[in-house]
């Protein structure tokens, strides 16, 4: 399994366009969340820190062999709040990974708890070696 990450940890992108033509596109930060990958008895486990992301605002998808997570962070501030002191920027989280053949894509499960996403990547069953009959002329 390899990570597919941008060369910068943060970059500005345009927010996802919606079909609603009246929605104005606003610039939002997109961050690369820190991750851990470790081996378990059944395969691999991926953990990603996604503070501020709720179950409803998290998208996890697999296309071909690419696993992509996108977590949208909703603001917790009232509308009239003005910043007094800022040490971190608020933005969404995006990261994708290339899965190897050792992962059983159909059995991948995930859970979100305390701002941490856990994705279980079970090892695929290795097919039994099959003997090939060689026929002589």
């Amino acid at each position: 399994m390899s990570t597919d990450q941008p060369d910068r940890s943060q970059h500005l992108v345009m927010a996802h366009q919606t079909d609603d033509s009246t929605a104005s596109s606003t610039e939002r930060y997109v961050f690369t969340p820190p991750i851990d990958i470790f081996e378990t008895d059944d395969g691999l486990m991926l953990r990603a820190d996604l503070p501020g992301v709720s179950l409803e605002s998290l998208e996890l998808q697999i296309q071909d062999n690419r696993l992509t997570l996108f977590g949208r962070v909703e603001t917790v501030l009232p509308e009239d709040a003005v910043p007094l002191h800022r040490e971190f920027e608020v933005g969404d989280f995006l990261r994708s990974f290339i899965l190897s053949d050792e992962v059983d894509y159909d059995r991948i499960t995930a859970r979100l708890s305390r701002g941490v996403l856990e994705v279980e990547l079970p090892r695929a069953e290795q097919p039994e070696p099959r003997r090939i009959q060689v026929n002589a002329d």
């Binding site: 851990d36 470790f38 820190d49 503070p51 009239d80 003005v82």
Partner: protein, 146 residues
């Protein structure tokens, strides 16, 4: 590359600093929320008409391991960032997430109702609300003369 820059003396340290920054950026050592040389956790402070709002990102922290205390106008936060099940080091293929205990103290703004402070901890995001104390009416001070 210009050998001489007008109105600016040669500053090898700044150039070196810039070069190191560029190298660090290219290897992506810094991750969101954790920056070497900065206090952990990073805290934002916002002000609305009725309150001050402190926000901090604290993923992987159990509510029972987060402690907030107020004394003499200083808010002290302590916490432990760890996973429910510890994993032996040799099993890691990649390890980027920080862990461990931390402590941070913040001076609070004046004129807040300390006893009305509320804290909400949800999805790894801590939100502390500090209601402002009501503005006191200006009070006339009587002046007496002989």
């Amino acid at each position: 590359m210009a050998v001489f820059r007008l109105g600016q003396s040669w500053d090898p340290l700044r150039d070196l600093e810039r070069e190191v920054d560029r190298l660090l950026q290219s290897v992506n050592l810094t991750f969101h929320g954790v920056r070497p040389g900065h206090k952990y956790p990073a805290v934002n402070v916002h002000e609305s008409a009725s309150e001050y709002i402190l926000t901090a990102e604290l993923p992987a922290t159990a509510p029972e391991e987060l402690e907030l205390t107020i004394a003499n106008g200083v808010l002290t936060m302590t916490g432990n960032r760890r996973d429910e099940v510890e994993i032996p080091e040799e099993r890691f293929r990649r390890q980027e997430r920080p862990r461990g205990t931390w402590k941070r103290s913040l001076p609070l703004p004046e004129r807040i109702q300390e006893d009305q402070l509320s804290a909400d901890f949800h999805n790894g995001m801590l939100v502390i609300r500090l209601p402002k104390a009501p503005q006191e009416e200006p009070r006339q001070i009587p002046i007496t003369s002989d």
